[in-house]
Amino acid sequence: MGDVLQFLAHWNLLLPLVLAAVGIWLLLPRPRNRAIVWGALCALAALILAGVFWVRWENAVSPEVVLFYAFSGMAILGGVALIAQKNPARAAVSFAVVVVNVCGLFLLQAAPFLMAASIIIYAGAIIVTFLFVLMLAQQQGFSSADDRSREPFLASFAGFVLLGSFLFVLDRTFPDPKHFSEFLDHLELAAQQRTVTEIKATLGDKDEVLNRLQREVRRYRGTEEGIKLQQGLDDLTAEWNARDPSEKEFQNALATIVDAGRKIEERNGRGNVPAANVAALGRTLFSDYLLAVELGGTLLLVATIGAIAIAHRRMERPA
């Protein structure tokens, strides 16, 4: 019973998921009784609730936030249209919508070359080839393949259980940045105390604080701030376990941690990507990944030859 209550306490995670599962289930193609309006309403409500509950951003509304919402919302709507569309040609066009919006997200994350490459390759080449094949395989009216979906209920249920577990893990791994900020304030307050006993009293339970810090260190491992955080944590642990701790050392350790933590907060979990994207990407490709580039080229060649060999219509000779 307690477990159930604990499960239901994540209602802001569950409510959009359930709504979206119902919406997708109603929207998937079927020959009769397809409640498109209800399905679309459910899916839209789920999308809006997800945008309210799941996305975290700093209090100010910046162009980045607006663009993020626009691109991701359009991408998800395009994805729903892709799986709910009976007409395969329209589905291919909605896939192009997904690709274009994902490219917008790439641009928001400082990847302009990838944006251009995806638009040219996906939205240009692949979609056009798909439409060619669709035209070659011209079908008369609706076929039972486009008009039915296989196990729509089970598939949407399984899909949203998977999404729920993704979101749960993400929620656990990336807690709200506000918590980290409060924790740093707490440490700063402790560093201002005069005597060791006061510091310890302000910090609270030893294991709790050290474990919390250990988690933060693990999250930012490998970065400059992470190394500083590790140093501060080591000092703090040594002081806490020492027979005769000095308040000076305590304060120094706490100051190191708070300093590194504030820097992490400022960076907000993002590193600096080189500004000259194409040049830097080329340098990385042809130095670190040279072998992979060669293999990729070979793969393209082999795939081309394979595709020609498969699709070639062999002329049957008269016997």
Binding site: P31, I83, F106, I126, F142, G271
Partner: protein
């Protein structure tokens, strides 16, 4: 500022939508498009991680994903074309004799597809009178 986790959520949603589409749709081309959408979700994750760590390895990975997806598209379209020539349909259920032994066949028993309204064939007029004599061509070039 949008933190990393929000981008990961968008990637996860696209991935799951692609998975649902791949499991339910029966048109081979649509199944393939859904698989490509799953790849898009993964690409968002990789680019977001590249930004998070401040290096370009994630973007390079995405570039390789695009390469492999292009190869995959070429091969899959060639295969789909061959399968279409054999069965004259894109329905993947027609190939279910390739299933594993011991699996039940999937039959569409419950909901019949409604018949499309048949177009009335154009009226066929009986030729009246005598057909004029036509000169036979000697050679067909």
């Amino acid at each position: 500022m949008i933190p990393l986790s929000s981008y990961l959520i968008v990637g996860a949603i696209l991935f799951v939508l692609g998975m649902i589409g791949f499991l339910t749709r029966r048109n081979m081309i649509l199944m393939f498009l859904c698989a490509e959408m799953m790849l898009q979700g993964v690409a968002i994750n990789l680019v977001a991680f590249a930004r998070h760590h401040g290096n370009l390895h994630g973007q390079v990975f995405t570039l390789f994903i695009i390469t492999v997806a292009a190869c995959e598209a070429a091969l899959a379209l060639a295969l789909i074309l061959m399968l279409y020539r054999t069965k004259k349909s894109l329905d993947v259920s027609l190939w279910q004799e390739l299933r594993e032994p011991g699996q039940e066949a999937i039959l569409d028993l419950d909901e019949p597809v409604p018949e499309l309204p048949r177009e009335e064939p154009l009226p066929h007029l009986t030729p009246s009178g005598i057909a004029p004599p036509q000169k036979r061509e000697d050679s067909y070039v």
